[in-house]
Amino acid sequence: MNVRTTGQGIDLTACDREPIHIPGSIQPYGLLLAMSPEERILTYVSANAAPAFGLDRGALLGRPIREALPRLEALLGPDLGRADAPSGPGFARTVSLDTAAGPRRFDAVVHRSERATILELEECVPGEEATLDTLYPGMRRFVERLQAAATTDDLCRLVAQDVRAITGFDRVLVYRFDAQWNGNVVAEDRNDALPSYLGLRFPASDIPAQARELYRRNRLRIVPDANYVPVPIEALGPEPLDLSDAVLRSVSPVHLEYMRNMGTMASMSVSILRDGVLWGLISCHNKEPRRVPLQVRNACDFLAQIFSMQLDARERAARAEDRMRLGSVQARLLGYMAAEDVFIDGLVKHPGELMELAGAQGAAIVSDDYCLRFGRTPDEAQVKDLFAWLSRHHREDVFVTDALPAHHPAAAAYAARASGLVAIAISKVHRSYVLWFRPEAVQTVEWGGDPRKPARREAGAERLHPRNSFEVWKETVRGRSEPWSPGEIDAVKELRNAIVGIVLRRAEELASLADELRRSNRELEAFSYSVSHDLRAPFRHIVGYAELLKKQEMERLSERGRRYVDVIIESAYTAGTLVDNLLNFSHMGRTALKPRRVETRTLVDEVRQRLALDTADRRIVWTIGDLPPVHADPVMLRLVFENLLSNAVKYTRPREEAVIEIGSYREDGSTVFFVRDNGVGFDMAYVGKLFGVFQRLHRMEDFEGTGIGLANVRRIVERHGGRTWAEGAVDRGATFFFALPDSEGAS
């Protein structure tokens, strides 16, 4: 017979690779027998089985259980043969057996593994009779209290208390995993035998992946004595037996060392699953060795499952409540934004609510033009750098991370303030973001007790000491923040949608205004076109026919008749000229400027010569100063000088000798031109009206004109980015000024 012992020589340093489901041994508080499903030939037996029944070593392996242990077969035969035997460990029944030491009671557990039916016999704890009847009142009380618990924290505290009440361990912890499988002690119930671990955190490496997988599959484990000597499993063949589901499975020596380092000689843990995923553990410790009956352990598992369901309900409620709360924060923010002309001001003036929306400790609103910061944020240069990085690499609507330095190494410099970042892009056109920051998680640990209190008992195994584990945890979570909850992320997404909605609405309003403007411009154009055709023509006809009348019927008209005809001609001519001027004025606003270098001196001379033709009979003294070339639209600039010079000529008509001075000077990056005359002048009280359309300061019969010339001057100069003004006094002459800026950016 080939007897082997498997699973020797385990590498303690490689926790992740340790094959803990096939340790090749069990804990010594029970017996293990495994047999082929049909013949029930014993293929694996724990080394302590044969001696327990007073048999020789080797008397079991390879024999049918019916022959080797007939009494046992008789008692458990139906359980062993059940086709629907659970794949996980299932309590079958309590049986009384004769052993080498006399009659004993055993709790029997039967389950199926890949290659065998496994029977585990755990000797009942003497004096601790645990049946469903005795456990029921405590469990019922627990369920009632659970239902009354308001929060997840309350639930966790209750489960810790009740599990300790049922099991009698010195300390019961509720241990919760985060997204990276770091653990956090969220509740605790204990006596003074062991120190508090409440609030402590442990690195993911403390419970490696394959251990977590076993926790998920097999929800309950117990190590009654950390100093136990493993009992090897003897096998018929070379394959090791998979003990994933076994109650008695021997645990990793690393785990035992861990326990001893923590000063706990007995431990039990119950897995808490949510939707098939490991949520956490109920972890029980005892300073001295302690074994809890199987029935009690099963009761704990039952409690854990109820707890998990309650947890689900509570967290759903909390999420709903959270959403409601965030919804009201969001509604307030929207209200603030709606009340402002610039909607961003609504956020800027209420940074508290802005931060609350995402549960952040800092926020910033940043674009190419501004960088506004609130609460705990990186400094301005860092936020701007972050902005540049985001707009290069993360143009998506919402960017969320709880490990910013892993994405953007430069952020390591301010990890303490901003390891977590939520960014929303609030405009596609102009790069702009709202940012929320969360500090590094290490700084937000809420100490439930003094982390230094757990004393270091053994100097040898520092790596696994709890206090040391905490240090390791700090190392593993550097550059990470608390994760952003789905509710928080939804809230900022909704805020973004609202902002984009506002921006879009504003843009649409602007677009419709622009449309309106285009439409009215088109109408104006159509209007001026029809005026141009349909209004000028009748005036032209009136003038023309009146002239013909005057010419051909001169002799037949009386003196008065001839005067009437003259008035008709004069009036129609004035009206026609007015139409021409109006059209000019409207053109001035519409036609594009074509600025170029203009020799002002030449231009003024030409204008002056043309005027001289009409004023040959008058004495006019022209004084022309220095007139530098300027950058302007030559046609428009000519109109300006034509208007100003003809005005000067016109309003000096009563003077025997008109003196008209044209000059220029430099002022504030502009060239200022002026035209001064010694004419009739004007009252400075009306200076504001001077450049208005159809503003006349003189009686029509004194000075001809339509009153639009100076309006044209102002319009042209303003379109060149310049300004106009005038000085004068009644009967003391007038000076008209216009300034043209040096810039070539005339529009």
Partner: protein
Amino acid sequence: MPELKPILLVEDNPKDVELTLAALEQSQLANEVIVVRDGAEALDFLYRRGAHGSRNTADPAVVLLDLKLPKVDGLEVLAQVKADPGMRHMPVVMLTSSREESDLVRSYELGVNAFVVKPVGFREFFDAIQDLGVFWGILNEPPPGNGRTSAR
């Protein structure tokens, strides 16, 4: 002395026709003035078709073309004349009441020979029309061999 070719006036407004004729009359031009009342008729005249199918007058020395006409407007007439190799040398003067720059630009693009905004003042109007008549009817020397009925 070459035979005087007629002046073709294309104008729909009877008042403008009368005023223009009065102005041309005063200039003492001997050229015959032929008046047509819209763009379609102008083209009929130029291409000797329709009511003008049997005209025996020479091609005009100048076309005084109002811009805004019923049926076929002045710009279209201009475009056809200037696109026709046999006719594009014929001088066309656009007369208009409009001061729209776009009309001016478009006319020059199509190859107009002159563009005159009818002045409001009678004297100016008369001067303009008379200048046009004298210039295009007498002074302007047409290109050699131009015109299908050129009779020197």
